[in-house]
Chain length 322, copies 2
């Protein structure tokens, strides 16, 4: 059984690779909700939707966000009426937000709502929010303090980040499915998908007890670097790493996760960093980590699973010989 | 200055005829909000939207409701997620509801919001809700008590109506613009558009003091029959008239409005009813009342205005000779 921690696009791709390799009972995908926000009264969960649409085979792989074949009649009409257009709500995507709002207002929690949406879209694997309580990622920038979406979408990641806060995280409990997985002893690997460590993974790790329980878990924790050759595969991860004073490289990622990791998967372009990462702690797998196609997703997921098994056996050997 | 009371499609057509004949300061269109309801958390104002879209030249004249060139991507996606599909929200129409919700939640009243929407859509004439307070038309049918939209859209006007209630009406004040018009002495005519008397006009008349003030007003009150030759031009008016025990004819309409009317406009097909209507009270204008085109709307509006002037002069003569 694989417990995958994911954020947006990169995480969604690897999670999809796992879903193609594993049966529904062998995979739990836990998704960041720190990016969630309210827009026009709709509760928007960008990362949950990215993972959901990716697993449903509905995502717009060209744009890297939203739905394939999306249309924008609503948005154009909204702007005609003077509505803010910086966050683009597609006609079809909007239905997800409207139904999420309806179900939440009926008293269902985000886990229930996500289960309902994924089921309706034909997804058999479990996609769950990291928490059913509100966590909000807020960035303190040179242009002021702002919500993640304001920074990411409206400001296009322009302002220099001075600090990042995960408001509500330390008081928020992991969702029930996530909590149960943390309690299970038959987890084969905990995989930190190639998502932004500071924006997509950190909110998950910041939840009540989560980091400590992951460190203490008997399953190996393996991260895939979202930085290849010093550059982000997608998004502002390299820029933000530098602004925060971290090394924008796979080594910087390994250092950031620190004692959490048993294994680190880096791209062949970064093979030169293998020795330095070993010094930090985790075992390293060097392979092709860029996922251009579904086949790439399936292949990388398989390699991560095999790598985790090796780590697992090594751990067992250690335990056995101690 | 014309004060027009309107409901949905028929009312919107004649209101549009007035707008084409009159300058913005010569017309106030007061619209029924008894049909308003909440759907998926959106505040929906069907009659306000019908009048607005008609005056903006955006209405779907073939379907008789909604916007021309509307698309249904949102609705299809919503139904895929299990959302109720009985009330069709088009992709473009949805923007109106979302912006209305946003502005109402900011504390604007429905009059302000309607002014903003109409302005954005390029409408110069004033369209105002009958009230800024909530009035809800509820029908008691043989299949139970239900909101107007449930009856009208979901149940397709099937159940036999036993009674109709305008919940909240007697405690609701007319909107400020409507109230001001009721106070003005320079109103040339109060026109009851060819909308359903029981469902579109009655909620307006049921508002605090409105019926009494219309009766007492110095301007002539003129109604255009929405029933021609015993049949509704559109909608369930003839069916409901029969169910409630009223005569489904222009005469029945005249009797229903009773002492409110100074003038009644009926179709040439109903010329045989002229004498009977005179007995009820109002003066009668017999003309072509079916509006198939914008030209028909302009023509009927003009005839109604000329007829009102005659009534007005007659009233003045009466006052002068008394």
């Amino acid at each position: 059984m694989i417990l995958a921690l994911a954020g947006g696009v990169g995480g969604a791709k690897l999670a999809n690779g796992f879903a193609k390799n594993l049966s529904p009972d062998q995979l739990l995908i836990v998704v960041n909700t720190g990016d969630d926000f309210e827009h026009f009264g709709f509760p928007i969960s960008p990362d949950l939707d990215t993972v959901t649409y990716t697993l449903a085979g509905m995502s717009n792989t060209t744009a890297g966000w939203g739905l394939a074949g999306e249309s924008w009649k609503f948005m154009n009409a909204l702007e005609r009426l003077g509505g803010e257009g910086w966050f683009r709500l597609g006609d079809q995507d909007l239905a997800t937000h409207v139904m999420r709002a309806a179900w939440l207002s009926e008293g269902q929690n985000l886990s229930d709502v996500t289960a309902e949406i994924t089921k309706r879209l034909g997804i058999l694997h479990s996609i769950v929010p990291m928490s059913d309580q509100q966590v909000r990622t807020v960035v303190e920038t040179e242009a002021g303090r702002m919500s993640f979406q304001m920074y990411f979408v409206r400001e296009q990641c322009g302002p220099v980040i001075k600090n990042i806060y995960y408001e509500g995280a330390t008081k928020a409990n992991p969702s029930q499915a996530f909590m149960s997985a943390l309690d299970r002893e038959d987890v084969d690997a905990i995989v930190i998908c190639p998502s932004n460590p500071l924006l997509s993974i950190a909110p998950i790790l910041a939840l009540r007890e989560v980091r400590a329980r992951l460190v203490a878990h008997n399953a190996p924790v393996v991260a895939i670097s979202p930085i290849i050759d010093g550059k982000a595969v997608k998004g502002p991860v390299a820029k933000i790493f530098k602004e925060i004073g971290l090394d924008a490289s796979a080594l910087g990622v390994a250092r950031y996760y620190g004692d959490l990791l048993d294994g680190m998967v880096i791209d062949t372009k970064d093979s030169g960093l293998e020795a330095s990462i070993s010094v930090v702690g985790p075992q390293t797998l060097v392979t092709e980590t860029l996922m251009r196609s579904t086949d790439d997703q399936i292949q990388l997921a398989r390699e991560v699973m095999e790598f985790s098994q090796l780590l697992s056996r090594r751990d067992n050997t250690k335990v056995g010989s101690s």
